[in-house]
Symmetry: C2
Subunit: 233 residues, 2 copies
């Protein structure tokens, strides 16, 4: 029985047709049976000297070449038959794998300076190829968790650079939730929440009224958000 740590890495990028913004995620092509040649989540066996988060972070560095600021445990998947390839029932039964999956969010500015690893390709979350193992279900679960957390935590922070306009924040919400939001009300709500404060500066050269810049208040979440007892993770 093997213990592995896998990662769902999410970033916001323009849709393929350029008409908006959606979530994208990197997948790696499998170079071993089962599911040889299929796309899968980046993962690796847990090594003796690494904690679970450390293993997840290492995988991130290896896959996209950077340390994202948001990383949280998603779930542990341990069904007995997870690693069997349903599409080729004659294949020998592979060794059982328990996967502890983490999910990460990549800031727009980090995304730009990213270095993709070997065998890695990015896909829009709504148009994924067929995935190995139960990875499609895992991605769905990660997306559901992200949408849920967006509504009750300042997690949009994790997609944004240090300074940003309120419209950029709203666009994060709209892209993740998949629906438009009233700019006027959104503005008031996020300001009233106290999560954000004005820097005093404005953006220039916008061909319309220049928006103010804001930053997240320091006490807002930075990395792991609601992990359990800090020491044990």
């Amino acid at each position: 029985m093997q213990l592995a740590v896998s990662t769902v890495i999410l970033a916001l990028r323009p849709t393929p047709d350029g008409s908006g913004t959606t979530l994208w995620l990197p997948l790696v092509r499998r170079i071993r049976e089962p599911f040889l040649g299929a796309w899968a989540l980046p993962g690796e066996p847990l090594e003796e000297h690494m904690s679970l988060v450390e293993a997840a972070r290492a995988r991130l560095r290896h896959t996209i070449g950077l340390d994202p600021n948001y990383l949280e445990q998603l779930y542990a998947f341990g069904g007995v038959d997870r690693s069997r390839d349903g599409s080729s029932p004659d294949a020998p039964c592979p060794e059982r794998v328990v996967s502890i999956v983490y999910w990460a969010l990549v800031r727009a500015d980090e995304d730009a300076r990213m270095v993709a690893g070997e065998n890695v390709a990015w896909f829009p979350a709504e148009q994924l190829p067929a995935l190995a193992f139960d990875h499609a279900a895992i991605v769905d679960y990660a997306l559901a968790r992200l949408r849920a957390k967006l509504e009750y935590t300042p997690i949009a922070h994790a997609f944004l650079p240090d300074e940003f306009t309120l419209t950029e924040v709203r666009e994060v919400y709209e892209a993740v939730l998949g629906r438009g939001l009233d700019p006027a009300n959104f503005r008031r709500q996020i300001l009233a929440s106290g999560a954000v404060e004005p820097t005093g500066e404005k953006v220039t050269g916008t061909s319309h009224r220049p928006p103010s810049l804001y930053r997240y208040r320091p006490d807002s979440v930075a990395t792991s958000p609601t992990p359990p007892p800090r020491s044990a993770a």
Copy 2:
């Protein structure tokens, strides 16, 4: 490296002084180093032929002799030094353990017909003895999760028998949250939520106005509540 499944089992019982109701949980006394003789969460190594939930359920049957209706994965703990006994630094470094922890809720009526296993004792959650490993932190995390879920899911269901009065539901909330709630408003809120429906019967012999009985609507959660993709857990 070892992979274990542990459980935090919660039930509502009268406080030790009989003045109210609180959460209690069963612990087992350790019969091996490290932490020999200390109290710990019920757990066992994961066996090859069992999924994670199955292992948790088996542990529950072994510890309290029944299958609770609510069981959910809590978190996977995998710090490198989790199994070291801080209080006896001279002890040999024990093998590393990754624990996948589940939490379970026991209904009042099940609690009554429960059979405690060997070496098992129940403690009020607010007055636990010193626990082995990082188990104290794990219990805290489970309690936090329970309180959070109480506010946005019909999880109180899991503590109640098939039929109950609205006052009993309120007492569950009050015990878990640790504060009193307005009976009038609580009543209206839970009815408005649609989670509950009247059976038409009343309780008799109460020395005051007889309360109506209710049941949870069938589409309310029964067992696993918000697990990820049903098939993969």
